[in-house]
């Protein structure tokens, strides 16, 4: 029996295990929406297509599954670009389904036509234009396969209106057969042996763990590895949660706003073991000053990440989980007293820790750090936290001690303001029972504020904690430090009354203006089973420290 393209699409999604898609309809996808009307797939109607991608991304990051979104052609498609680029930079598996004008009209400057494949080519892992309904099932199969395997990433499938209306026999392929795409999962044994020998010999080893540990679900293996050999761990923003942030071996985040001890440890280690990390400039600072005395082992599934910014001594291309498992097997045989072997190195790190602790002083105005710390304490580190971008993001990274993978959702690579709230929606859909909190800035939250209607429509109890400093704080901080305090266009003199705004959308609004109101506000918000905005009126000109200025080596941190 023949089926329409729309039916084939939805049934293919179901066979991929998709239970929810995030989308926004329009003319070119009206046929798909018609088929969705009585499909078991749940559709979440967002209020802006950018939010559909971020929500699918948040769903993917929090659950480890592939996020899916559906939008119409032209403006619907172009509105997804920031979402796609965000997912691409952070290697998040998302399948973006875009409507397209009918095949006969492509290239005609037709109504609501946009060359979305062309527009998104540099920020997708791959993309397809389906020209024949007979190709549709295989294309969907491949799209999911490519999005979720190797180094994950967004895949776009462009669906012309006539292809969706056309019909064909439906046979969903069982497997994918692509001669041109074969990611390397298994690490090379010889390289692993070499790495193992270096690890045994090192005096001051350090693990530098990135988002790849999380996407390969290798936290357990990483934890065993670090603990068995007593190797301290520092994580990138994307890696937070891949190793328990409260462990004695955890040094917190490294890089521009990393902890003093993490940056000092990188500078002084003699072996750096990079796992699923890509030596981003915000992490390394001046490249010559990054781990200047260390041999480097780099484990990554993407060969292009290796030796891109920094020469490594032992590259291992492979899945972090597979490689760590193999290394862990080798270290089992080495029954040494690693704790005492490491004593000197760990003592040194402990000293650094005490030289400069992350700290702030809570006087009469609410400190943003205090808010984050209290959210951490009250949720016992068990919540799923998303962030916006700016100071709010860095304070979250510093003061919320992530202990589990997939509990921090943040736009690390692209730094997209407006990411956090829709990402929190995606996570809340994936985990209806969990506490999901977007720690936001007063600037960023306004970039996707319209999604308050979405949370109201689906009764999603997402919580938003605005660290309201009435500034585009992070930019103001730079202006303060590097532009003689010339606060050019960073003051948010006018913002909506967030409490009233919440109410207007049918959510709850709470405001805290004094330090003693912080804890009760958080507790109250968490007791409400609806969406809540907490407006924390915080110190206006608080800065994030430590800070490594752009272009300086990591050891040259500005401290308070």
């Amino acid at each position: 029996m023949k089926k329409t393209g729309a039916q084939i699409l939805l049934e293919s999604l179901q066979l991929e295990g998709v239970d929810t898609i995030f989308g926004f309809p329009g003319g070119s996808v009206i046929g798909i929406y018609d088929a969705l009307f009585n499909s078991p797939i749940r559709h979440i109607l967002v209020r802006h297509e950018q939010a559909a991608v971020h929500a699918a991304d948040g769903y993917a990051r929090s659950s480890g599954r592939i996020g899916v979104c559906l939008v119409t052609s032209g403006p619907g498609a172009t509105n997804t670009v920031t979402g796609i680029a965000t997912a691409y930079m952070d290697s998040i598996p998302v399948v973006v389904l875009t409507g397209q004008v009918s095949t006969g009209l492509i290239g005609n400057d037709a109504f609501q036509e946009a060359d979305i494949m062309g527009i998104t080519r540099p920020c997708t892992k791959h993309s397809y234009l389906v020209k024949d309904v007979k190709e549709l099932a295989r294309t969907i199969k491949e799209a999911f396969y490519i999005a979720g395997t190797g180094r994950p990433g967004p895949v776009l499938v462009d669906l012309p209106k006539d292809v969706i209306a056309d019909s064909a026999e439906f046979n969903y392929p069982e497997s994918v057969n692509m001669q041109s795409y074969n990611p390397t999962y298994r690490g090379h044994r010889g390289q692993i042996q070499k790495a193992f020998k270096l690890i045994l010999k090192a005096n001051r080893p350090l693990i530098y763990a990135g988002g790849g540990v999380i996407s390969s679900n290798a936290s357990e293996e990483l934890t065993t590895f670090a603990r068995t050999l007593s190797i301290p761990v520092t994580a990138t923003l994307m890696g937070l949660g891949c190793f328990p942030g409260v462990d004695d071996l955890s040094l917190g985040m490294l890089g521009m706003h990393g902890t003093y001890r993490a940056n000092m440890a990188v500078t002084n280690c003699d072996l750096l073991i990079a796992i699923g990390a890509r030596f981003d400039d915000r992490v390394t600072g001046k490249i010559d000053g990054f781990a200047p005395n260390a041999k480097i082992i780099h484990i990554d599934i993407d060969p292009t990440s290796i030796s891109k910014n920094i020469r490594v001594h032992i590259p291992i291309v492979g899945d972090a989980k597979d490689v760590l498992k193999k290394i862990n097997k080798l270290i089992q045989e080495e029954k040494e007293d690693w704790k005492s072997i490491r004593r000197e190195w760990l003592d040194q790190i402990f000293q650094w820790k005490n030289t400069y602790l992350l700290a702030y002083e809570q006087k009469d105005v609410i400190k943003p750090q205090y808010v984050v710390e209290k959210i951490y304490e009250i949720t016992k580190g068990e919540a799923i936290i998303s962030t916006e971008v700016g100071q709010n993001q860095m304070w979250t990274a510093q003061y919320y001690h992530f202990t589990k993978p997939r509990t921090l959702l943040t736009s690390g690579g692209l730094g997209t303001m407006g990411y956090g709230f829709p990402a929190a929606i995606g996570a809340q859909i994936a985990f209806p029972e969990k506490t999901v909190i977007d720690i936001a800035g007063d600037g960023s939250i306004q970039m996707n504020i319209q999604e308050l209607a979405t949370v109201a429509q689906y009764n999603l109890p997402v919580k938003i904690a605005i660290l309201n400093n009435r500034y585009l704080g992070m930019v103001r901080q730079w202006q303060g430090l590097f532009h003689n305090k010339r606060y050019s266009h960073t003051s948010l003199e006018v913002s909506p009354d967030f409490v009233k705004l919440a109410e207007a959308y049918g959510a709850v609004g709470l405001r805290a203006t004094k330090p003693e109101e912080v804890v009760p506000t958080i507790e109250k918000a968490l007791s409400i089973s609806k969406a809540v905005i907490m407006d924390f009126v915080v110190e206006q000109e608080e800065d994030v420290y430590p800070m490594v200025p752009v272009g300086a080596p990591l050891k040259e941190m500005l401290l308070v």
């Binding site: 494949m117 080519r121 892992k125 993309s127 041109s180 795409y181 993407d302 292009t304 891109k308």
Partner: protein, 161 residues
């Protein structure tokens, strides 16, 4: 250092755009690029001549390999291979210089593919040195136009890439 890179790619719309986009987006330069179908119509072969230090060339080959539509990438640098380029040259041919031009074309085993009372159009193929040499020799006669195919390359020996 100039490198000649050969890529076997799926013969699909958009592949060229992906490769070109990769070079422009990452600031790699392309000196020449040649694409055409192989014996198997489902694949094409690209020959790319590019320039960069070792680290850049390593990134280029890795990034090419990472493109989903690319099956195989080989950098010929340091290996034994043959490369050729074809060139069409329109040169001014006055009665005084016609014989000299014909002699040069003959030495380079070229062909005259079009003749007018005032010009010759010449076809020559060869490696970089040969192409450069004939251009240099013809320059004094007055070159009106030059069109080059860019390099194609193949390894020596019995094995393919």
């Amino acid at each position: 250092m100039s490198h000649t890179i050969s890529a076997l790619v799926l013969n699909q719309p958009g592949v060229l755009a992906r490769v070109a986009g990769l070079f422009s987006g990452r600031g790699f330069n392309i000196e020449s690029l040649c694409v055409a179908e192989t014996l198997d119509p489902s694949t094409s072969r690209m020959t790319i001549v590019t320039r960069g230090n070792d680290q850049v060339i390593e990134q280029i080959t890795k990034q090419l390999n990472k493109l989903v539509d690319i099956i195989k990438v080989v950098d010929f640098f340091g290996s034994d291979y043959v490369d050729r380029e074809m060139i069409l040259i329109k040169v001014t041919a006055e009665s005084s210089s016609r014989a000299e031009i014909l002699r040069i074309v003959d030495i380079f085993r070229g062909k005259i593919v079009d003749v007018t009372p005032k010009s010759y159009t010449i076809e020559v193929s060869g490696d970089e040195n040969k192409i450069r040499a004939i251009i240099d020799l013809l320059k004094p006669m007055g070159i009106k136009e030059v069109v080059r195919t860019g390099k194609v390359a193949i390894s020596r020996g019995s094995k393919g890439i």
